[in-house]
Amino acid sequence: MPIEAHHTDDGETLVIRVEGRFDFSTHQAFRDAYEQTDGPVTRYVVDLSDTTYLDSSALGMLLLLRDHAGGDSARISIENCNSDVRRILSISNFEQLFSIG
């Protein structure tokens, strides 16, 4: 599975891992990962340590997640980006919307 999601021990954080290419083909799976989850999630972590590539439709999916998580009040961090992925996120200035580590 290119997308895998799990809760942290306290159950309040949902970690979504994306493996390989993060593009339109993962659209549905990425959405399912945060929509089909139960419990009171207050924080999201998008773990991109195994993501090799990210395109503009992935940027769109991140915005959808942000919307789902409450828009401006969303708490989402994008973690472990490789340098290519980081570059794409920074061209679009996504650090203004997400915490990127």
Partner: protein, 556 residues
């Protein structure tokens, strides 16, 4: 004969031929669903007959079963190579025959269904292309009302680029200078193209009314944010040039680095410092413009990520470093456009690689070049206010947040016939306004702008001082009276600033003009003096009055 009755018992209609040639003729006239063929036949053997039948059937699948007493594997293989789909070894077994016929019939039906679907897809694709062509014509009418064909602009955009989500707009500003917008919507096809229409409308509409880049970007963002679903947005860059002052203002939100290529050889990247359009709430959206001083012959380049992301045969990308290298190796900025296009075609190894990218280069024209024609000006309504006066004053924080020029221009353009002079009227208003704001209210000295370092400081300081405009105002008093074949527009502009010594000012301006030619500012008032019928500076220089007489062109 055994076969015939066997087949008839199974419910098939049977047509017989006694040799290969007859079999082909029979196939042609009867058009059967399945063919059973003896491998050994007189007058055209089974193998050759099979070839001809398959050729006649074309794209249709007509299962062909060889009947044979052969047991030699090579001979059997030849039957299949000639187009046979299966074979049946004599003597015939009823159960096997029936099973094979059923199996092949399933295959035939499947093939038929598949071909129908392929036809349908092909048909739909043709229809979609035709629809796209029509849609593109509509789009062209909206989007290309501008000045992309101006001699100082070069661009590459695939004819169907709007369906890749790329848009490129250019327009001449009413007071001279131009405005260019390059956008790249997320996604492809119709969804990407749909957002382009309102952006084109906003862009051309607002440029014509005298709005600047920051206002236009704010409006585009507001519109896109409202109409696009979350997750869809538009990366873009906007370049605004002011040919009189030689200024370029740039904004980049999500596109690869834009470039300012100076004739001195300097290459200045204009990186994306903003979120793409359609992401931010209108309330929190700001469009900070980066300002550059330029000289004629400098070029500005805008490109979409199709440029650095086009892969070559080995899947490698040219990358931003590739773009940098090309630009670094140039002899003059004017060669950049061709060098980049040549390189990308070479790199990808195929000319159509350029279909997915848009590139635009803008040359900064000579400052004193006559203004480009603004195109056909629609006639004003024959009736409209011709004799009127109004006072419009902006105060306090509004000075920092609001540009009154479009509103003032709009009031003036209601005068019948005056629209034909919109460029000049805009220039009068904007020079007065900028003078009042920058040198009056903000007390900035244009002397600072005489060096590139001071130039940057000037704009930093401008921004800083705008945050404290307490107690300040700018007041415009406009009046118009009609005359026999035109009218007289009187504009008085007062501000709350301390004023300046304008007599000395005009001296310095003329000195600088006769000097080395590299003057950066101070030409605004000179220009007003030149364009207006009467020009007076009252008080301490914070009260400027101009009278502008205009006439309709004669043979109308």
């Amino acid at each position: 004969m055994i076969l015939r009755s066997l087949l008839q018992k199974l419910g098939h209609r049977v047509f017989e031929a006694s040799n290969g040639a007859e079999a082909v003729a029979c196939f042609n006239s009867v058009n059967p669903d399945i063919v059973l063929l003896d491998a050994m036949m007189p007058a055209l053997d089974g193998i050759e007959a099979a070839r001809q039948i398959k050729a006649l059937a074309g794209e249709r699948l007509v299962p062909l079963i060889f009947l044979t007493a052969l047991s030699d594997p090579e001979a059997l293989a030849r039957c299949l190579e000639a187009g046979g789909d299966d074979f049946l070894v004599k003597p015939f077994n009823r159960v096997i025959l029936e099973a094979k016929l059923n199996a092949l019939d399933r295959m035939r039906l499947l093939h038929q269904a598949l071909s129908e679907q392929v036809d349908q897809v092909r048909h739909q694709n043709e229809q979609m292309l035709a629809e796209q062509k029509t849609a593109r014509r509509v789009f062209d009418n909206v989007a290309h009302a501008g000045c992309l064909s101006a001699p100082n602009i070069r661009y590459h955009a695939s004819p169907m680029s709007v369906f890749n989500g790329d848009v490129l707009f250019a327009a001449i500003r009413p007071g001279g200078g131009s405005l260019i917008f390059l956008g790249d919507f997320t996604g492809h096809g119709l969804p990407a193209a749909i957002g382009a229409m309102p952006v084109a409308e906003i862009f051309y509409g607002m440029v014509g009314q005298g709005f600047g880049a920051a206002d236009i970007l704010r409006e585009i963002n507001r519109k896109l944010r409202r109409i696009l679903p979350v997750g869809m947005f538009c990366c873009g860059a906007m370049i605004e040039t002011d040919s009189r002052q030689g200024l370029v203002r740039a904004w980049n939100g999500g596109l690869p680095d834009a470039w300012l290529l100076r004739t001195t050889g300097e290459r200045v990247a204009i990186p994306s410092r903003n979120l793409p359009l359609g992401v931010r709430d209108p309330e929190s959206f700001t469009a900070p413009m980066v300002v550059f001083q330029t000289t004629p012959g400098d070029h500005v380049l805008l490109m979409t990520d199709g440029f650095s992301e086009t892969p070559n045969r080995h899947g490698q990308l040219l990358g931003e470093s590739g773009v940098r290298e090309i630009l670094a190796g140039l002899d003059s900025p004017a060669g950049a456009f061709d060098a980049l296009m040549t390189r990308i075609r070479e790199f990808a190894g195929q000319p159509e690689a350029a279909d997915d990218l848009t590139l635009c280069s803008l040359e900064i024209p000579d400052m004193d070049q006559p203004r480009a024609p603004t195109g056909k000006v629609p006639d004003s309504a024959p009736a409209g206010p011709a004799d009127w006066q109004c006072v419009y004053e902006i105060r306090e924080r509004t000075l920092a947040q609001f540009n009154p020029l479009p509103l003032l221009l709009h009031i003036c353009m209601e005068v019948p016939g005056l629209r034909s002079r919109s460029g000049e009227v805009y220039t009068l208003l904007s020079e007065l306004y900028n003078n009042a704001l920058e040198h009056g209210v903000l007390a900035l000295s244009s002397d600072w702008k005489s060096s590139p370092r001071g130039f940057a400081l000037y704009y930093q300081e401008r921004q800083r001082r705008l945050s404290d405009t307490n107690g300040h105002f700018i007041r415009f008093s406009l009046s118009h009276e009609s005359r026999s074949s035109g009218g007289r527009l009187r504009i008085v502009c007062e501000d709350s600033g301390a004023g300046f010594d304008f007599t000395d000012h005009s001296d310095r301006v003329s000195k600088r003009r006769s000097g080395l030619g590299s003057y950066y500012a101070g030409r605004g008032l000179e220009l007003l003096r030149h364009m207006a019928t009467h020009f007076h500076v009252h008080g301490r220089g914070n009260h400027v009055e101009i009278v502008y007489d205009w006439e309709l062109p004669e043979d109308r």
